[in-house]
Symmetry: C2
Subunit: 347 residues, 2 copies
DNA sequence: GCCTATAAATGGAACGTTCCAATAAATCAA
DNA sequence: TTGATTTATTGGAACGTTCCATTTATAGGC
């Protein structure tokens, strides 16, 4: 069972009666070797159960064909879908990407990045963990490794970013709520250590301002970006003197939490309180009621990020243009019908 | 910006005024070098922006510290959670696992396995793609690489398996339905090219037999293991002459689909038709109605698999015991109250 | 002061591959 | 036949590390 010492290119050479150089050439599919020789060598490869040692090869070649994908939270379907989108394009480029999860932990992220670099990756696509400091990627820049940020950006970094138009998405969603007749609005979930948070909150604020909602009629509740966070946000908001009648949530998970909490209070999402999510994960359309949400096409953005990475590697540069993906509001049932004016809203 | 040629151990040696061997010793944290020297070397490492070349090291060391996790479907939260469980234990062992997704595609899986092996992994945890042939892992066995299967097993393979007790889980769930008074039962979703399918269906069958449900009062509908599959299954089953009144679903996704389809027909899950899921993903408890499901503790099984792997590597063996994880039925609302006898069930 | 024992640092070979320059074999032009 | 050209094949150096056997420095015993 336990094989003898691992077979190398020399073992194959001996077996096939050729030189190691010939074997190497065959391995690389060079057209220089006579077809019959190639066949002979390939048979030997099969016979001895050879496995190529990419580490040894990279020692000379310098250019590896591994790409690392560093994801902040794989259990979030939103990021998982993005990762799968990336994988799709790498696959068709003949590259096997390795995924590593950081679980939103900057320390873990540091380890993961280090390990990936030591492994000699050709490039890195990163969705940075919350709380990542801008210094975390300096080492990567030093060695001139191509890096792309996906979905999230860092405050002051020159690394190219592929992300949805968060500002516009939030604006659209907020305008939708206002259009429904809501006059006291909430923004639920997320925390200010995320650039995305500021972008989305910025869109919310701008829409309120542009459409005549006074700042004192809005309430912003930070919270975990999870169902639990959403539940907490709603409880906080409804305890206010003049509670809101609608909320834009940082993401769909928060929105689900809000709807859950509404139900628990005997309120019907949509009819009694409008809620909009962000990201439009698959569950959104299956919820009761179906969730109105800002679709960002995570898989598409993942694909885009992968393409950018491939191009960077190919042109051996560490720079690329940012790409801001279009968003669109998918209206479903969670905001109910239009709200009648003056239905207890008179300030 | 673009750094000069990549720094090596020799550059550090020159910078610090020591030999390359000394640097190597420092890198490995050997106690043989004088602390002051170590400090000097570490400073040089920092200064030149050195990154360790693990490939070169493995050329001599033979023992790498990378472990590969090959997952059949990362977008399924069930498997994502398992992966995260594994990661947790590897992290505390100072190992960074690399995750690769096969998207249920055996061809892709083959590529992924090849790539991981070439990278020189120390071990592999695999949740095999549907339709994997038993030959796919022969090469791995040939080179004596430790491999563990997680969640799924292959028909005739000696590779150790960490999986939940599917048979018992299905038995419990079925008994629950029968105990509620149901007399015509369905098994929804999954397909027979999966061993898991036979295990779960086996539990269902055994429970029916043991508790007096005739085989002709059961209906088995294969289908995709997704919401869509669940919808299709229900439609098929309700078209039967004597339709079932309850269903055990292959997994939670199917169960969600079934509930959706029920609603679409104006039937209330729980009251009009009982449904039980399998896996107990997080969404299960948040659904309306909350889904009764068989909890399998995917994260826990992931951790277990990782431990087994670590032990295998440590004791340089390719064998280990299987581990069948306990399951338990989490009763929620999707089966409604007990069903009264003779309520249209008289066969 | 010398010898021995311990501590610290070192040079060289080896790991498995690729690449280059060189060789050997086959083909062609004259 | 001879030399030139093309086609196949090859040996050796190099890649960045580790490990072993040595060497060099430091301390201890007398």
């Amino acid at each position: 069972m336990a094989s003898r010492a691992k077979a190398t290119i020399l073992d194959i050479a001996r077996e096939a009666g050729v030189s190691k150089s010939t074997v190497s050439l065959v391995l690389q599919g060079s057209g220089l070797i006579r077809p019959e020789t190639a066949v002979k060598v390939r048979k030997a490869i099969e016979d001895v159960g050879y496995v190529y040692n990419r580490g040894a090869a990279n020692l000379r070649k310098a250019h590896s064909n591994v790409i690392g994908m560093v994801i902040n939270d794989l259990t979030n379907p939103f990021f998982a879908e993005m990762a799968v989108g990336m994988e799709r394009v790498f696959q068709s480029a003949g590259i096997v990407p390795f995924i590593a999860n950081t679980a939103e932990n900057p320390v873990r992220q540091e380890e993961v990045l280090k390990s990936l670099m030591e492994q000699g990756v050709a490039g890195l696509i990163v969705s940075p963990a919350r709380g990542t400091t801008s210094g975390a990627f300096r080492r990567l820049e030093m060695v001139g490794l191509p890096v792309v940020f996906a979905m999230r950006r860092l405050p002051e970094s020159r690394i190219p970013v592929i992300a949805p138009d968060n500002h516009r998405g939030a604006y659209l969603a907020t305008a939708h709520l206002i259009g429904k007749g809501h006059r006291r609005l909430a923004f639920f979930g997320g925390s200010s250590d995320l650039v995305v948070y500021h972008e989305r909150l910025g869109g919310f604020r701008e829409a309120c301002e542009a459409l005549g909602i006074a700042k004192r009629d809005t309430i912003v509740v930070e919270g975990e970006t999870s169902r639990k966070g959403g539940i907490a946000c709603l409880d906080t908001a409804l305890a206010a003197a003049e509670p809101p009648t609608a909320a834009l949530c940082f993401n769909d998970a928060v929105a689900f939490g809000v709807m859950l909490a509404l139900r628990k209070r005997g309120l019907e999402p949509g009819a009694d309180f409008a809620v909009v999510g962000f990201d439009d994960v698959v569950e959104a359309q299956h919820y009761m009621p179906a969730l109105t949400s800002v679709a960002v096409d995570s898989a598409g953005l993942g694909e885009r990020a992968a393409h950018v990475m491939l191009k960077m590697i190919q042109s051996r540069t560490t720079r690329a243009e940012d790409h801001i993906g279009a968003v669109n509001l998918v209206v479903r049932e969670s905001c109910g019908p239009d709200r009648h004016k003056g239905m207890g809203d008179a300030a």
